[in-house]
Symmetry: none
Subunit: 224 residues, 2 copies
Amino acid sequence: MRLLLVEDELEMATALSAALGRYDMILDHAPSLDHALAALVNHVHDGIILDRQLPDGDGLSLIPRVRALKSGIPVIVLTARGTVDERVRGLDMGADDYLAKPFAVEELLARIRALMRRSPDIAPMTARIGKLVFDFDGRQAQVNGQLLDLPRRELLVLETLARRQGRTVQRSTLEESVYGYDDEIQSNSLDAHVSRLRRKLADTGAGVEIHSIRGVGYLLRPSP
Amino acid sequence: MRLLLVEDELEMATALSAALGRYDMILDHAPSLDHALAALVNHVHDGIILDRQLPDGDGLSLIPRVRALKSGIPVIVLTARGTVDERVRGLDMGADDYLAKPFAVEELLARIRALMRRSPDIAPMTARIGKLVFDFDGRQAQVNGQLLDLPRRELLVLETLARRQGRTVQRSTLEESVYGYDDEIQSNSLDAHVSRLRRKLADTGAGVEIHSIRGVGYLLRPSP
DNA sequence: TGCGCCGCAACGTTGCTGCAATCCTCGTCG
DNA sequence: CGACGAGGATTGCAGCAACGTTGCGGCGCA
């Protein structure tokens, strides 16, 4: 479990990090909205703990952007502003919970657990690269909401690449997940599938490309 | 939206009922655990507001039974016992939120909205794709208000596809929900059902099509 | 007993897929 | 600096597995 803490006070961050660590949770720390956005783009988080008072704006403004990026992530807002109106506003902005400072760490942990408990059902496991959206649950790829009609092998290739988006997938790994451990292949069929997939991605303007690294493997990335 | 309030104080109940009514929510009132259980069995609720102090026991004891009955329902606990320990305990018992009395009605409403927003059970009781309306509760399909008279297997196929509308349903998944886990099928009966279903959907002009993805499965989508 | 759903199987059809031949690209070494 | 080789890309093709369709017989149900 990996959470993102958006909070400018270092003290609070280290304290929470320690507390969460005891429950095998990883806490990434972003001290500003900008950092938070960058972190969200680059990593996959299971939840967000959000302070409102940040050097570059109100934390609440992050929520719509989080929802646009990955709709299902639970968001807990922490704040010194604890009036009823503030709380109502925070919740209606899309926060899943709202906790006023000072709070007990125990309670925060319990509320995180409560949210996590119910989130996995919803979290649509999807990856976004360029205009491409890969839905791991539905096992399908979309471009601009348009379904990419891919046959089995090509789908498997894209799925594995999307799962490790941006990082290199070794040729052997790819072969393994496209064919079985036992199924063998005695030709360049894999290359053929990659080739056909490339054409379809380009034709639909998916904004992604399959980059090949000689002697190593492939990786999926936004096209320039 | 229909909520169940489990609370023995009549005053609180009427006040909440009035407040929720203004947001088009229906509030059922159960003054005790027994009443609550009866109500849960007889009706379908989208959420539960639970007081702890009840004439026949602690409200928290209801949670496991609720989860057993309908696992996904959001539960908000209201209580006068507002210590951190109590809150942690309530949340860890399975509550989704915990609000200490006295509280502002506005905040309760906001928290209800936040929970409803992410509750998968709100997931419409009916699905609409093209001119087709599938009613999951009544287990029937309609086109232009006209009932589609489908035999059992075909209905199961359509139901499963409609439930995941637009997303791919793997062949194995479909087999599992149309036949049992144990029931086996040794022919292409599934294809046959799909075929017959397709014809009926086309004949009635439902505006939907069952698209097949070779080697993967099927998906239901509006026809072009 | 009649009707209709269902599993089954036969057969037609489609289009994915592995293969291989050919072309391309890049790094390396003489 | 140019040629060569290895790894990669592309594409046509043929086989075949997966899917579509249809008719039949049995079984359950009214």
